[in-house]
Symmetry: C2
Subunit: 205 residues, 2 copies
DNA sequence: CGTTAGTTTGAGGCAGATCAACTTTGGTGG
DNA sequence: CCACCAAAGTTGATCTGCCTCAAACTAACG
């Protein structure tokens, strides 16, 4: 598997430990290499001039990130932030270069990853047009909680991932909870039956 | 340049000529190779169950398309349609395979292309949240008309690219025309000063 | 146990979608 | 070449999903 192989070749690179909220790189910065998540969770956020934030992607254990800008050879279009205590490995430009030259298999893996991410991004973009806020929030709850069950997502993060506001997320979650489709536990929540929950994503609340 | 080089190696592949409106592949189909635009213009559209369409990308002369699904190894997430009389070269799976194996330089070019497209898609997604319909429409007018000046874009196409409706596009264009920022010419239009026009994208209409 | 970040709930407003009726454009076929 | 007509565009009126603003509540952490 890709990450395992990459991991081996960077095991003795520069490491860095961050706590929740710490910024790894800022939108507009020029990439100086790649990042590898050894442990923890990282979020990619775009912040508009009017302050509105969009939660673009999540990177978890064994993910690389910063690769989009690196290969596009453009400044970062969004900022990356640690969502929990996170341990990173920083892969220098030189090492990246070496990897790219000697490992066409890794190149192909990266190609596939970007192709999938592009598809997802475009479907999410379409979803902002053709789905209700309710449906997008339900889908985001399922995606974020099932893929990252240990993370306690804030309403604000869910809102920024789904393209909504934290007040609307609260209302949808209250409604889902009243219907017994999720179980609120403090700030966290549980999903019982993802399929069933998703089937309610088109229903009014 | 990438396309020139690719072009040479596919010059004697299967050709196809289409007229406006003809569909090249449907959402859900499995990729059977790549497509190369020899002449004309192709649009990539996603259609939701409720009928709402989203205009995702444009491919013009010397562009390849269908590559996202091909490399993601997933079915097409959107349909491609000829926007004018278009001549295509169809590159078979076998030829694609050969190219990928023997041309790491092309692989890297594809990687860069996907990385840029992902950035653009994510910024457009963010734009749907943090910009007004007015701003997005102005930006779409500039993008579509400056990049493809010979195409007579319909209000519907502009709407589906900007994430809006054709009525709203009409209203914005009428307003811009009254302000002398664009010149309507039948169904077509002209942009005088793109920079100036964009500076009005944040202004009410 | 105090403080702050996060959450809930309600009320009100509005950007832009939707619906509807009418006009214009430009391709085409007689 | 012109008359026709379907497709595209315009304009006005109405409606609504969801955002915004506001105020009170609560969880969690040092």
């Amino acid at each position: 598997m890709f990450y395992k192989r990459l991991k081996d070749s960077v095991e003795n690179s520069h490491k860095k430990t961050l706590k929740r909220g710490e910024i790894i790189y800022h939108e507009g910065d020029h990439p100086e290499g790649l990042y590898f998540v050894k442990e923890g969770l990282v979020g990619l956020f775009h912040v508009a001039e009017n302050g509105k934030e969009t939660f673009l992607r999540v990177f978890s254990k064994d993910c690389i990130f910063g690769h989009r800008s690196y290969f596009a050879e453009t400044p970062y279009h969004a900022s990356s932030v640690a969502l929990t205590k996170t341990e990173l490995v920083i892969i220098s430009k030189e090492e990246c270069h070496k990897i790219c030259e000697n490992r066409p298999d890794l190149l192909k893996e990266l190609l596939k990853m970007l192709a999938k991410d592009l598809g997802e991004a475009e479907l999410r973009m379409a979803g902002l047009q053709d789905k209700t806020a309710n449906a997008r929030i339900v889908e985001s709850l399922v995606f974020l909680k099932l893929k990252y069950p240990n993370q306690v997502w804030t309403r604000k993060e869910i809102a920024e991932y789904s393209g909504s506001t934290f007040e609307t997320v609260t209302r949808v979650m209250t409604s889902l909870s009243e219907k017994g489709l999720i179980k609120k536990e403090g700030r966290d929540f549980k999903i019982f039956d993802p399929e069933n929950l998703l089937s309610f994503s088109s229903v009014e609340y």
